[in-house]
Amino acid sequence: MLKGGYAGKILEINLTDGDVKKVETENYFDSDLFIGGKGLAAYILWKELKKNVDAFSEENMLVFATGPLTGTLCPGTRMCIATKSPLTGLFCDSYVGGHLGAELKFAGYDAVVVRGKSEKPVYLWICDNDIEICDAKHLWGLDTFRVEDAIREERGDRAIRVACIGPAGEKLVRFAHINTERYRQAGRGGTGAVMGSKNLKALAVRGNGSIPIYDVEEFIGLAKEAHKAVLENETAKARKRWGTARTIIFTSDQNLLPTRNFREATFEGAELLSAEVLEKKFWIKHKACHSCPINCGKLGVVRTGKYTGTVVEGIEYETLALMGANCGISNHEAVAYANMLCDMLGLDTISTGNVIAFAMECFERGILTEEDTEGLKLNFGNEDAMIKLVKKIAKREGIGNLLAEGVKRFSERLNVQSRSFAMHVKGLELPGYDVRASPGMGLAYVTADRGGCHTRAWPISYEISGKAPDGTVIQRYSVEKRALIVKMQQDENTACDTLVACWFLKGAVGKERYVKMLNAATGMKLTVKEFLEVGERIWNLVRMFNIREGLKMEEETLPDRAFKDPIPEGIAAGQKLRREQLETMLEEYYKLRGWDEKGVPSKEKLMQLGLNFVIS
């Protein structure tokens, strides 16, 4: 019996026949085993998604899942959007902050499960008991900012929260995102393209109800303690003032910053893209997601020059790294404008920056010529060309049509040589950390469930500090203890992704407090050990999902560049990974996970985790 935290119902929508069902959350899944968020999504997709369906077929599903702490007083909560990714063909969970998750719960729903495909463009209206599949002909083709404005205006309510796709999602750009509140996105893995394939332009949510809390006094006390801990935490304080933009100086200094398609790992223009510059010249105010004391978001305005009129929340580190340094661009106003374009058009800035940088390298090497690019001089540092390419990708115009397929498919269309510097793992474009000076990050990318991703494990802090979690001393460029660190972080992060807690607060809040808040909100009686086991359970379930989809061990590797081209300059000059280093880490990692040498979870492991139902 769910006593609090959860909103109580799950909404099932079939766009093919227009069927709408409301199911009691407690009858839907075992909350003790999966809690919510990623756990709920992984369980549904394992159980109900037929294997090997095309990501764009009407059989694919799209799950919007909140967690029992989403929308509560727990600091910084989000929601999870999961599907089978059109980039990787694997499980994909992407997270979005903002206010949509909270609003969905106020409307009475813990999750929305979307199946099927509508014949014509529609949007989904969710307001308490009132669920409508509405015509979206007038919204089709509009950018994400205009869609939100239009829905609010036609419904006469400023407080409506909208998740929508832009032209890129409509055109099935494989890395199209789902956008909320203009500047908050479920960015990675192409969730927006799946939404587009279903002819679903938007979800518009308004909730007039409330979220019950099991033990109100206990919960308020615990949450306030957590807030105090966050506001006193040094890392959180830095994020509060500088956002994620602060990271660029650190990564540039540490040879971790992808520069000119990951050729270099330090950028001479990093200081021009720094948080100090943004604060002085660009930012006007701080922005926070629902219930978050950190406000890592910064709203900025460009008031003079070529990009006058640009208004965007950011620029986030990943965007600075991939659309700035990785494209060789140091003009923060150009990056801000490109950032806004991606938000409007519906493109993930990480994948977009990555694939544009790849095209730039191809151009400089003569693999692409001006004939291929419709006259664009795609040299690194050419901001005009970068901006034009963003637009071409979103509309699948000219060469943009090829880039829209993602860096893996694009490189497969070109010559074999280009594959060695197509920077992806399993089809997901790599984010803002070079692995040559961070073997642990190499393992993290390779083993991340959704492909090359930095949010499942981030062992860099241990490598730089030189100390493993068990206190032993580790060398920065060695492989010792990396398997242990990566597994530990993956399990912890996955557990937190069920709540759904933002990973920027995880360190300051700590798992003990999360578990206490979860218990006080829901009336559950979970221990920290059981909570972490939930993380491990979901990690294994998603692994089984990916194996069912045909994941091969050969795919658990890095682009050749990581092994072949040493870092040219900086503190890690000369560094590159050796293949046997990755093999050693992987072997150790599989063993630690209780997986066989091919990376398949053993029967015993699955039984031990209560995953009997996945054993065929």
Partner: protein, 167 residues
């Protein structure tokens, strides 16, 4: 002395912790609609919290035909006597800030009553955008509609009236 929670609009981040803690404290559950403070959002990312500023010369008290709105002598807050309130909404219309809401379940109005003198929203606000002040003048000068404040912030930050398109 007139006492009210005042807002530094420039530093509100739109996190809504004030709404959450307000409804939890006053209604024992979390609900934007039941919060006494409401954070209004305006594109492109402007956040304007609205709550009662406890006007000294209070239009709501004057408008109430039932005498259901009273001044708490201890906290200086304007409080609602739910026994007397009939939900006629004349106070809602009279309020210069738009800070009074209707509880549709009970058909009575509700508003910020300063949590008995120690407002929870002020305590939780992570940027100190909210503060409890005592001033030697009528706090009514703080009462403004959210739209009006959003317009002022737009001017302050020179946010262009014409938005860029992706063309």
């Amino acid at each position: 002395m007139p006492t009210a929670v005042v807002v530094d609009y420039k530093i509100c981040t739109g996190c809504r912790l004030c709404e959450i803690v307000c409804s939890l404290r006053n209604e024992k559950k979390i609900s934007t609609n039941l919060s006494r403070i409401r954070v209004n959002s305006f594109p492109p990312g402007i956040d304007v919290p609205v709550l009662c500023v406890q006007c000294d010369k209070a239009a709501c008290i004057e408008a109430c035909p039932q005498g259901a709105l009273e001044r708490d002598p201890k906290t200086q807050a304007v409080t609602v006597n739910v026994e007397k309130c009939v939900g006629c909404r004349l106070c809602v219309e009279a309020c210069p800030a738009g800070a009074i809401s209707v509880d549709s379940r009970r058909n009575t109005v509700f508003k910020c009553e300063l949590c008995g003198g120690e407002p929870e929203c002020v305590k939780i606000c992570p940027t100190s955008a909210l503060s409890l002040v005592k001033v030697p003048f009528d706090t009514r000068i703080f009462a403004k509609k959210a739209e009006e404040i959003a317009e002022e912030l737009r001017d302050l930050w020179m946010i262009p009236k014409e938005e860029l398109t992706h063309a």
